[in-house]
Symmetry: C2
Subunit: 98 residues, 2 copies
């Protein structure tokens, strides 16, 4: 029997990561507070998922100052786009079986 989970990527397993990647697929970059609001999560929770995705090189972080205020922006990488697309195709295949 076939392993039906073989193309499902562990790195995207959590709904917060799905949300981050989905949002970054359609926006060139998004800052921390916008992402936080969009996903309805705490600072710590969001930061930890962003860190994991950065470690996998699926997203990049750009730190800058707007006036005196620090501002951190996130973007998806080429690798991130590729892997997330694969993941979504696998997910759709899995759930489409119903």
């Amino acid at each position: 029997m076939k392993n039906i989970l073989q193309h499902i990527n562990k790195a995207f397993d959590h709904r917060v990561r799905l949300g981050i990647m989905s949002a970054l697929m359609v926006n060139e970059s998004i800052d921390f507070s916008t992402l936080k609001e969009l996903l309805g999560v705490t600072d710590g929770n969001l930061a930890s998922h962003l860190k994991s995705l950065e470690k996998e090189e699926y997203i990049t972080i750009e730190k800058q100052f707007i006036g005196r205020k620090p501002n951190t922006k996130y973007s998806i990488t080429k690798l991130g786009k590729l892997e997330f697309t694969k993941h979504i195709n696998a997910l759709e295949k899995l759930i489409r079986k119903q």
Copy 2:
């Protein structure tokens, strides 16, 4: 801004649980070893995810003997079907945004 994760169900967050529920949506019941093979996971991993889904009353467990061999079968509940369908619709909405 809208919370884009609001209808994503935490209980289905892990890919193994997605796999279990997807398989049980289309089969009246499945036994432990078939599920294990289908998902390519270890006994302990599968048992722990099955327990969580049972606790939520999304699946039921039926223990029986086939000859002298114990056999455990799993089925989806009405609640499980309802909640999983909601989850899938939310997932599709989220990832369809790209």
